[in-house]
Subunit: 365 residues, 2 copies
Amino acid sequence: MPQLPLSPGSTLGILGGGQLGRMLSQAASRLGFDVVILDPQPDCPAARVSRAQITAPYDDPDALQALGRLCDVVTFEFENVPASSVETLAEAGALVAPGPTALAVAQDRVDEKTYLNAVGAVTVDFAAVSTLDDLTNAIDQLGLPALLKTRREGYDGKGQVWIRDAADAEAAFEAIGRRPAILEAAAVFNRELSVIAARGHDGAVAVYPLGENIHANGVLKTTLAPAAVDAKTQGRAHEIASAVLDGLDYVGVMGIELFDMGADSDGNSVLLVNEVAPRVHNTGHWTQDGCVCDQFEQHIRAIVGWPMGPTEAHARIEMTNLLGDEIEQWRALAAEPNARLHLYGKHEARAGRKMAHVNRVLGAV
Amino acid sequence: MPQLPLSPGSTLGILGGGQLGRMLSQAASRLGFDVVILDPQPDCPAARVSRAQITAPYDDPDALQALGRLCDVVTFEFENVPASSVETLAEAGALVAPGPTALAVAQDRVDEKTYLNAVGAVTVDFAAVSTLDDLTNAIDQLGLPALLKTRREGYDGKGQVWIRDAADAEAAFEAIGRRPAILEAAAVFNRELSVIAARGHDGAVAVYPLGENIHANGVLKTTLAPAAVDAKTQGRAHEIASAVLDGLDYVGVMGIELFDMGADSDGNSVLLVNEVAPRVHNTGHWTQDGCVCDQFEQHIRAIVGWPMGPTEAHARIEMTNLLGDEIEQWRALAAEPNARLHLYGKHEARAGRKMAHVNRVLGAV
């Protein structure tokens, strides 16, 4: 295992070469690190701004061995990294951050919610579903409407279906492929918030101001940050983030999606955790233009053992994703003062594909 | 010649793979462009964050042909690009920006000052020197002390020597290798300022707030920006920049170093132009953390035919170069709140070599 903190000139590895890997790589370069990407797609977006790419599946033992030998530390842009891949990287001499426990918890929605509740981060009520009988029982227990999701994989609204009538249970189970699942009670929330937090090897935790998110068709459309929340709500988010990160001995940035349920009868802010992502997060892109140290640099700092950077916002930002052919808006956006464009270098604008985002600087904080 | 504006996904070429090429490449990637670097040094700093490198001398015809065919537009990080290289690139179908006129003027200190004076940008008095006799005459004309510089090449104080006594003239001429030279009168200035300006293919000019510079041993140490200047001084700098850029039909970012001579008897601000650089400039690095659109993005916008970005500063910045083993300060700087580090990925910290810079955010403007 390498000696921390890593010096500039060290080499970092990233599993996954999409936009998150690309922006992580750019942040790492700014701090003087070289970056190697592992991704099965040749010439992926992250590789085009990195020192090298190893083109192979994420579970290819030879590729992982090679990456682990080249790199002092390896991280990832997505949570569905096979546990065996993490083991191979560690055997080859690389530090892997975040570690296997955080990955395992985040890969299974039942394990994730069980963990969250155990550290005092409240979620909606839920039940594990393996069979149609389980599902029927879960509907009795939780009521309807309820949301059926696969336990593993699925993102941006994929692999999930709302059940509004008990008669639709079997069709819903069919729709998700009769795979191991979770049924979640519906949350009647005021708004969707998220908090981006980081934790270093030394246990120091850094928490950004909350963002308020607007989704469309299950995909994030806009984040407004810092969100207009009172100090109690920000404080509660900070508590949740610290508990979740500390409990996993987590290293790196985590994105935590929250439901703002308003205040309880004692006036305390009630936030439910919707889900966590053990990586940089789309709802944290606003930090690129709102903070001195953005979430990408923060993640790099955490994994290489540097001190956490500041998290204060100096500007109010409206982050908007550009999906599919919305990328054609670049012409208008290029002419818009205070609109900062971040394009991902994807040459094919498939429908719904995340192509870019724009951070609009709304003013000083 | 390509159709402007260039769309994201187009490929840009950069001659020169040092830190300026690296930061240009990073800005281009953020706007969705792919970047190819031409540099004789394998694995140069810019190549490690770019799609590809062509490893060859800057005047290698085959390499230039290849670069010109790959790229829609080609730019450079240094001014000493051979005119023949620019011709080869243009023949291969690439737009080259800035153009050959700007390069030619900037490559010869006598031509540069002659041009500047012709467009109303005042400089110190000067005389061309080809022989020792010329030098003796120039000393009679300009007085002493005076600064002898080679007409071509030389930067960061290299290729220049102060003459304080007429008896030292021959030794000085010897010291610069008896090469074609310029003798410049000494300027008694209050301080050194610089202005970063850009001009698009459509003739639009964008000018950043002035920076105040502190040099040590002929090398830039610190820029404080926006400089504490009155509106008249900023206005005069804007006039100078517009005249210099318009007169060359310039496309891209230019750095203009100025001597602040104070006010004349009518109260007008007197600024002498010390020198111009037809490229992004070390004294403009503060814009990375002080402006929504920094000088690197601005240069990319100009050469690809996008609208100029905003130039207002939102933060006061102190930019400090880290030379040679000053790079070891990274440990302390990483722990300093509001210090934003920019490392260049150079693995060998030779004495005096520019290894990194740090932008300290001093506060909101």
